[in-house]
């Protein structure tokens, strides 16, 4: 993709910790990422892996009373970590737009759509009311709302899910921010609408040239839209690379397992792959060694690093822990050994 090199966001060693029972636990644990102009960076991972936490850290929306953010998030020479509120308010909306997962609850039920879109224009542009109105209509048009003047006067509950998500996008792009964060923008939507929204997002990105941080847990969505991918597990990035690198040569056991558990078009009647165990919760998370190790117990401990770090296996393609080198699926081994695809139920 035509990823120009202009660096928008440079996240270095970001930690975000939540206070639970008087202790702080890292939900985002030493993450470093960069986002460039015109880039769609997809962040994938199971529920609870820390995707949203990362996003809210960038835009500074955590409650400082029970959250601790450390590390650097550099935006235009400005470190967003610990930035004062007034300054941050100038950046939010203007330089970073955000799209949330559930557009119904993310829109104020008592405000007209038009007002809600115009709100960010009020604080970031010098447009007068007339101009703002015109801009709102233009934005609605841009996100493919069939009758902008009508919709601008409606309330969120009067719109369909797809329409609402379009409105959310309109809000996010209102000030043409160079950075857009989209936290699971399509999870609440139907497949057909999901496709429309993703296409729209892409189009808009092309138009205004922003960098998009796209958060999702749907690998299909990533494959369809992203330029680069970061796979998260337990607050860490376990694999990172261009979309081709990650999908065509997935390396980390977690990435590979995920891809394998998708129902494949050509494996109709076969059993699906199952990842053993469950995603650990914030408090119970194992914080030493390879965090994914408990879920691939057949791998010998020796195959894991003691302090797994990201290895750059090819330019831009990073993978955590060395276990990927020896990783295999147990049934593959059996299959190889027994020569038959028959296998037993993998316990939980």
């Amino acid at each position: 993709m035509d990823t120009s090199d202009e660096l928008l966001l440079d996240i270095q060693h970001l930690h975000t910790a939540f206070r639970v029972h008087d202790h702080f636990y890292d939900a985002v644990d030493d993450i470093s990422l960069t986002l460039h102009k015109n880039e769609i960076l997809a962040l994938v991972g199971e529920s609870g892996s820390g995707k949203s936490t990362l996003a809210t850290s960038i835009i500074g929306l955590h409650n400082p009373r029970n959250t601790k953010v450390t590390g650097d998030i550099m935006y235009n020479e400005l470190n967003l970590v610990g930035l004062n509120e007034a300054l941050f308010n100038r950046i939010r909306g203007n330089d970073i737009g955000m799209i949330f997962q559930d557009p119904l609850s993310a829109l104020n039920p008592l405000m007209r759509i038009g007002e809600q879109i115009a709100e960010s224009l009020v604080y970031h542009t010098k447009l007068n009311e007339k101009e703002r109105e015109a801009r709102v209509l233009q934005l609605l048009e841009q996100v493919g709302i069939p009758d902008p003047p009508l919709t601008a006067h409606q309330y969120p509950h009067e719109l369909s899910g797809g329409m609402r998500q379009r409105v959310m996008i309109a809000i996010a792009i209102a000030c043409k921010p160079p950075i857009i964060i989209a936290d699971e923008p399509t999870t609440a939507l139907d497949v057909t609408i999901q496709a429309q929204i993703l296409d729209l997002l892409e189009d808009i990105q092309k138009e205004i040239g922003s960098g998009i941080l796209l958060i999702t847990h749907d690998l299909g969505v990533v494959a369809e839209t992203a330029d680069t991918v970061a796979v998260m597990y337990s607050g860490q990035i376990v694999e990172q690379g261009s979309v081709y690198q990650v999908f065509e040569h997935p390396l980390h056991p977690y990435t590979r397992s995920l891809l394998r558990s998708m129902p494949q078009a050509d494996s109709d009647d076969e059993e699906l792959h199952v990842i053993q165990g469950t995603v650990p919760s914030l408090v119970n998370m194992q914080r030493t060694g390879d965090r994914f190790a408990p879920r691939i117990p057949w791998m010998p401990a020796s195959s894991h690093e003691e302090h797994p770090v990201l290895h750059e296996v090819e330019p831009g393609h990073l993978v955590r822990c060395t276990c990927y080198k020896t990783f295999y699926f147990p049934d593959e081994k059996e299959a190889a050994a027994a020569g038959a695809p028959q296998n037993a139920n993998e316990g939980e």
Binding site: A86, R92, M98, S105, P109, L110, E119, Y123
Partner: protein
Amino acid sequence: MWKTILRRVILMIPQIIILSLFIFLLAKMMPGDPFTGLITPNTSPSQIAKLRQEAGLNNPWYVQYVSWVGRAFHGDFGMSYAMQRPVTEIIGERAVNTLYLAILSVIITYVIAIPFGVWAGRYEGTWIDTSIQFYNFISMSTPSFVVYLLAIAAFGFGLKWFPTSGSVSVSASGFFGIIASRIYHIILPSILIGILTNASTVQYLRSGIVDNKLEDYVKTARSKGVPERVVFNRHILRNSLLPIAAFFGNVITGLLGGAIFAETIFSYPGMGKLFIDSVNGRDYSVMTALVLLYGILTLLGNLLSDIIMSIVDPRIRID
């Protein structure tokens, strides 16, 4: 919307009919009648018996009821036996008094409750919140009449800041003079009512704010770069005021009924006081008319709540 309102109003009719029957029966079950008390050597039992007969009090209750309803239908609620005046006239007079008291009380209630609710919600968990909640609990559990008595002793008789009885000074004259005098008479009771009855409003507002603070749309607003003050006022506070708006009708009707204690202690001639007097005097006509009025007011209050709700909350439609 008008259709719905009309339908709601029509639906009230059966309820009001049942209510009227109910209270009429209750009234008739009360021992004695308006003439029971008229026993002085200056009156003759025979004359009283005659008056009683003429008033129809010796008829079977259903005959009395039907004639009562018939007259009430034409807006004639009869004469007050005790006051020897048309019931509508008496209630009208008292209703105005109660209305003054209720309006000022509501204003004071909200003047206190809204900032308190906002602070408690905004600074949830801090000492501000704790103190406001403590004050709320105290005000809920203190018997109101004790406070009224203490206040009337201190500010009415002691410091002589406020009048201690009545609704208006007899020496007041001129339109503004009378209004001023009326307000002067209700300041103390309204402040007390306001202080003592704002708990539920404060709590509603507080929990609304606490809940709304966590809503996603607040996050959206912040992500737009809206300053915190505006986020609070326009998104959190405005949405939290919703249940309060909806509660407004109830607050009004609640105050109308709940002012009995204040009216009694401040000898303020309002409807609550009138009710107690009419029960004690077996003044059926006044009593039944009052209960009916309260019933209708409650129904209208509910309707008002719903209408307000549908106006302020676009998600609610009455059509």
